[in-house]
């Protein structure tokens, strides 16, 4: 799961996921279009995303088609975020008002 969090930490990689979500099966070259990065930079990002299993790929001739794999994101949502969904929002709201009352505290 660490791989997934690490992979998601970078804006460029989240952008790539976003693009693959919008249009699945894009090649490396297609993913590069419109980006400021070099092809090799994109390739490295894709490798990191693939290591985290967030992207799977399929070779077709000299091209490589890339697909978003939402499963790790689902798992994070279920196993990790779910835990914090049950966090006491009301208790925090009360704390926040206390903090706002005496703003000098930082």
């Amino acid at each position: 799961m660490d791989d997934v969090f690490r992979a998601l930490a970078d804006t460029s990689r989240r952008l790539l996921l976003d693009r693959l979500h919008g249009q699945p099966g894009q090649t490396l070259g297609e993913l590069c279009q419109g980006l400021e990065m070099s092809r090799q930079a994109v390739s490295k990002h894709l490798a990191i995303l693939a290591d985290a299993n967030l992207v799977v790929s399929l070779k077709r001739g000299r091209e490589k088609l890339h697909y978003l794999n939402p499963v790790p994101i689902h798992e994070i949502a279920d196993r990790w975020i779910g835990k914090y969904q049950r966090a006491p929002l009301n208790a925090l709201a009360a704390l926040k008002t206390r903090l706002e009352e005496k703003k000098d505290d930082q």
Copy 2:
């Protein structure tokens, strides 16, 4: 939102969130107990979490009480993960079986 993803990328910081989730209002010293890190390392992590608004704190005398703020996590779940929840799992499953059929691709 970038701050939040960055903050969540580190295992130690997720551990700290976990501890604050289990027992809210802990001081820096309390959070250090049982960890291998130095106090300053924990302090830095807390600063990063605070920048991302994942942790809010409240000064009480010479102590500083730390609380988990689940709001940014909720926002990520709603605004970001929600988008991928609607990703076509079936299409991917089909792709995966294709990949497994000819494993030499990778």
